[in-house]
């Protein structure tokens, strides 16, 4: 999500002055309206009608009775939701896992890009890049089976642990280690792709700064701390702002494909909860109420990310 925002931002113009230059040829807007029509139909049917459908969060929605026949109950589902001990646990899990992914993922991606930038052998660098970018493009369905293969009780990780004389760990079934597994495997999947942006930021730093620092006798570490990282700071801040948008989506696809009732305590997040209780459990109205809350917070986060982006750079996402 945050890289998607980054890509859009990268195509954005620096302050839209072109928009205001007026064309000498004034045309009737009719053909423009016609061009908007097909897209608007999809927008209304598949975006706005579901929004109107959120009315069910204030009803006891029964599919057979429809939106007009179902009984209105006001804020009952919201009141119920905030009484549940579950909701606080789920919020904690969601934000905790998301923050872990953002913070550790960013640090590893930055570190990897700094190291990769030191690699001078072209063939080696290209090969490594080709390999580390690949997991990003594979579905969690595929990667989940890779991960289950490695982390199950008989998997290679436990075989290695036993080889060192340690005890086996039930990574997928122990709620204490499960969040760590989720954060770790997500970092593993994404650090390569995330490092692309940081690597570009490093190559844009003026080499003269490094040379000057080297002449002054600064060691490699000092140059990384005092030249490279400050030079990357604008992009780091930009990416941090954009990753705000992922705080409420701790990664449905990943968690759904790896979790089990044994790890709900620490692994159940907003999206998996809405799916299980609302859709599978057919508590449509209650699920929609939780979903509505999630959408509202999500909207605030996206607006904040856009505002910060505009502040840091002279472009905006939308």
């Amino acid at each position: 999500m945050n890289l998607l925002l980054f890509i859009i931002w990268r195509f954005a113009l620096e302050q839209e002055e072109d928009m205001k230059t007026k064309s000498r040829l004034s045309r009737t807007g009719r053909s423009y309206h016609l061009m908007m029509l097909p897209g608007m139909i999809f927008l209304i049917v598949f975006s706005y009608i579901p929004m109107a459908g959120l009315i069910m969060a204030f009803q006891n929605f029964i599919p057979a009775k429809g939106f007009f026949g179902s009984e209105m109950v006001g804020l009952q589902h919201f009141a119920y939701m905030f009484q549940l001990p579950d909701i606080w646990k789920i919020m904690r899990n969601t934000v905790g896992i998301a923050l872990g992914k953002i913070i550790i993922g960013t640090v590893i991606a930055i570190a990897f890009s700094i190291l990769l930038n030191e690699i001078r052998i072209k063939f080696f660098k290209k090969t490594i890049q080709t390999i580390v970018y690949l997991p990003h493009f594979l579905s969690w369905v595929v990667l989940a089976s890779v991960i289950v293969n490695m982390f199950n009780l008989d998997g290679s990780v436990n075989q290695i642990l036993v080889g060192f004389g340690a005890e086996k760990i039930n990574f997928l079934g122990n709620y204490k280690v499960f969040p760590g597994l989720i954060v770790g495997t997500d970092v593993w999947k994404e650090y390569g792709y995330n490092s692309v942006v940081y690597l570009a930021a490093i190559t844009a730093i003026d080499p003269g700064l490094h040379e000057a620092a080297a002449i002054d006798g600064a060691s490699w570490w000092k140059r990384v701390w005092n030249v490279t990282i400050p030079g990357m700071m604008p992009i780091i801040l930009l990416m941090a702002a954009m990753s705000l948008t992922t705080i409420l989506s701790a990664g449905f696809d990943q968690i759904y494909n790896l979790y089990s009732p044994m790890v709900y305590e620490t692994g159940d997040v907003l999206d998996t909860y809405v799916y299980r209780v609302g859709l599978v459990g057919r508590q449509y109205s209650f699920g929609a109420a939780v979903g509505l809350l999630r959408s509202i917070i999500g909207m605030v986060l996206l607006l904040t990310a856009n505002g910060l982006t505009k502040k840091f750079t002279d472009r905006k996402i939308f």
Partner: protein, 296 residues
């Protein structure tokens, strides 16, 4: 000076080793699946396969050739990707063009734009979407996988921004020659916007191919699952078992586990389309992503 050279050489060696290990960390788990898919069922079930196939055999791949359900799901995904791609690109390009006009040239432009932005910020969420697809009678149809995602708003904005960067004089020259807006779009703007359209197209392909969730909720008959939902359904029972049983119990259930090499082979075939477009992904979604993003 010698001392300094020596320490910088050590540093370089350490960096090469770390980068190499990080690369291995990404490659080995995937390679393990390749090795399992080429091993015999019993070796795979007993967890004997590491990095090299044990009892090398192509039997798993041969079984897939006759697997009706696998190819049916593969076909559902191909249809989905094809129509999804066509709709995504067509709607994106046709909508992005009028949105590049100013308020004066195109009355109502800002209303359309705000409607799009609001839909990007806020959405009905999982359950109202499900009820809608159900009420439209699309459940179990491949259109339930295609239509809800037909208009990617982020992509519309991306293409619009790209169009705005193309010099206005090109467009005006075409208008003076008597071109209609549609002609200006298809003959002038689209040919100039290949990188952004390629980006949008690749997003569409990867997203549609990898998505398992819409298949899971909208397809109530397992027969119609798209490929990723099908793969997921194969694994879910086995995962439960692996998570819960102790090793001796798991070994007792060899019949179930011996499917492991077959499942690995199915995964390999299912990701082949993505591997085939990987060079394009590298060009547009990786290198293209950062060009011009960082100020020199």
């Amino acid at each position: 000076m010698d001392n300094k050279n020596f320490s910088s050489r050590i540093r370089n060696i350490v960096i090469y080793i770390i980068v190499f290990l990080l690369g291995l960390a990404c490659l080995l788990p995937l390679w393990n699946i390749v090795a399992i898919s080429l091993s015999s069922g019993t070796a795979a079930a007993a967890n004997k396969v590491g990095l090299f196939p044990v009892d090398f055999t192509l039997v798993a791949y041969r079984k897939i050739i006759d697997d009706n359900q696998f190819w049916h799901s593969f076909g559902v995904s191909v249809i989905r990707v094809f129509f999804g791609l066509v709709l995504n690109i067509a709607l994106c390009v046709v909508m992005a063009y009028p949105l590049t006009k100013s308020k004066r040239e195109f009355k109502g432009r800002n209303i359309y734009m705000n409607l799009l932005i609001f839909a990007m910020l806020f959405n009905g969420g999982m359950i109202p979407n499900f009820i809608l697809v159900k009420n439209l009678g699309l459940l179990n149809s491949v259109w339930s996988l295609i239509l809800p995602g037909a208009l990617p708003i982020f992509s519309v904005i991306l293409v619009m921004n790209f169009f705005l960067g193309i010099p206005k004089s090109l467009e005006e020259a075409a208008f003076i020659d008597g071109a209609t807006p549609i002609q200006v779009l298809t003959r002038v703007l689209v040919p100039c916007s290949k990188p952004s359209i390629a980006t949008v197209a690749l997003f569409s392909i990867v997203g549609n191919w990898n998505d398992f969730f819409s298949g899971l909720i909208y397809m109530q008959k397992a027969r119609n699952y798209p490929i990723m939902t099908y793969i997921q359904s194969l694994q879910i029972d086995m995962q439960e078992m692996l998570k819960q049983t102790t090793s001796s119990d798991a070994l007792g259930n060899l019949t179930e586990l011996s499917n492991r090499n077959l499942n690995a082979a199915k995964i390999m075939v299912a990701i082949i389309p993505l591997l085939m477009i990987y060079p394009l992904l590298q060009r547009y979604l990786i290198s293209g992503m950062v060009m011009g993003a960082v100020k020199e």
